[in-house]
Amino acid sequence: MTPTPEATRPLRILIAKPGLDGHDRGAKVIARALRDAGMEVIYTGLRQTPEMIAAAALQEDVDAVGLSILSGAHNTLLPRVVELLRQNGMGDVPVFAGGIIPDEDVPGLKAAGIAAIFGPGTPLSEIVAFIREHTPSRHPIANRDS
């Protein structure tokens, strides 16, 4: 039967790689897992500046932003993305991060507004569950299991 409009409302997630490292295997694994969970993933490729990421998030009107970073520059780049999203009126959009981020940097990043940090080996289902949990206000129906 023709689905009702409410039934076809996938979450839109931006997956981006800030900084200069050239490895996006992790980002692609996440993108694929989110796709398999029924989400629409906008993937923007390597070497994105925070400004590029915020501009893409704005035009794509995403429900969450995932940042994968291995370069070590997370303490400057990740808070900058959060800051730019806020400037764009997207302060309610959760930002999560993955990659190589030392434990001692986690409290500072969380204080700067990063909603979650997923280290290597995090089960993909945990990331999917996190996104579903933290985006209900924008798309109530997208939480249903399909």
């Binding site: 039967m1 996938p10 796709r35 629409e40 906008i42 794509e60 009107d61």
Partner: protein, 340 residues
């Protein structure tokens, strides 16, 4: 940049949210869109289609850079396929447009086709209207990597560019009906690769085959809903150019942008009005079909519907008989005699 001519108070954020609403069938967004419809019509809407890997995204990025340097604002709608299994999608066309992200006169929106066949999504036409009404000079629609039957973009775009690349298909592919017949402009991208000349001459030969007589247009075998006026069969006042590009280097891109502008002039001389009327007829028909189906489904109800589906599964009914029975039931409910 100051050449941005969106209506006042409409920020990119507002536009982005409106597009989300349109895509999700939100009634408020659709109401706004209907109010805006009268403001649309100023943009030149350009469809770009072709096989996966032919270089559609790169070509659009190069065309956009050039159009920006000529003072035009540009919106891009890029469609990628949804997974038929999960409904999810990976939308990756932005990878090749990175240098455009921060340009204030450019708006890029990725969308999944959400199961629609034909190379674009159901809501693509409405999203293009929103971008048009927002004041962008050029609106590019990048289709799903298309093969031979994804011709729906011809119902939305005024100018259709079909992108080919050397080595992607043999001569027979080029002659097949469908995607080649909707081209207003043919581009052989990756022209530095071996086989580019052969691709051009193959296309040339295919065009000559396609042109025989305008009278053939009525006997396509498509239903009314799928009929597109083929540029190849139009009167010969528009000659479909075959242009070579190396989009990654920007080579040949100016000639494509010039051809786009020339095609618009051609449309403005009369051909455009006819095509627009045909496009709108198609759109109204499609929307009527959707509304009728929706209302019929409500009236039939799920129980009766599924009973008939099960009869088909058990091969007691042919799908056509099931559909006819549902229609008869509808008409009986209305108190009229069943139609045959």
């Amino acid at each position: 940049m100051t050449s941005d001519t969106r209506p006042p108070r409409l920020t990119k954020r507002d536009l982005a949210r409106l597009i989300t609403g349109i895509e999700n069938g939100d009634l408020n967004a659709l109401r706004t869109l209907h109010e805006w419809y009268g403001h649309a019509g100023g943009a030149h809407i350009i469809g770009v289609t072709g096989a996966p890997g032919s270089g559609k995204s790169t070509l659009i990025a190069a065309l956009t850079r050039l159009a920006r340097s000529r003072g035009q604002t540009v919106a891009i709608v890029s469609v990628d396929p949804s997974s038929p299994f999960t409904g999810g999608a990976i939308l990756g066309d932005r990878i090749r447009m990175r240098e455009l992200f921060e340009d204030d006169g450019v708006f890029i929106r990725s969308m999944a086709n959400r199961g629609a066949l034909g190379g674009i999504a159901r809501s693509t036409a409405d999203i293009v209207t929103a971008l048009d009404a927002a004041g962008y000079d050029l609106v590019f629609i990048e289709t799903v990597g298309a093969g031979q039957a994804e011709v729906e973009v011809a119902h939305v775009a005024e100018t259709v560019i079909v992108v080919e690349a050397p080595g992607l298909g043999d001569d027979v592919q080029a002659i097949k009906a469908g995607i080649l017949e909707i081209a207003d402009i043919l581009v052989v991208n990756k022209a530095d690769r071996e086989g580019a000349e052969r691709a051009v001459s193959t296309l040339q030969a295919a065009l000559e085959l396609a042109v025989p007589s305008a009278g053939a247009a009525g006997h396509h075998g498509y239903g009314a809903l799928h009929r597109v006026e083929s540029p190849a069969m139009a009167p010969p006042d528009w000659r479909i150019p075959i242009l070579k590009t190396i989009a990654t280097e920007g080579d040949g891109v100016a000639a494509v942008l010039d051809a786009i502008a020339r095609h618009r002039q051609y449309l403005e001389q009369g051909a455009g009005a006819r095509r627009r009327a045909q496009r709108l007829e198609h759109e109204v028909t499609l929307r009527l079909r959707d509304l009728l189906l929706k209302r019929a489904m409500q009236q039939i109800g799920p129980t009766r519907y599924h009973t008939l589906i099960e009869a088909c599964v058990a091969r007691k009914l042919h799908p056509q008989e099931a559909a006819q029975e549902l229609l008869n039931a509808l008409v009986r409910d209305d108190g009229h005699a069943p139609a045959e």
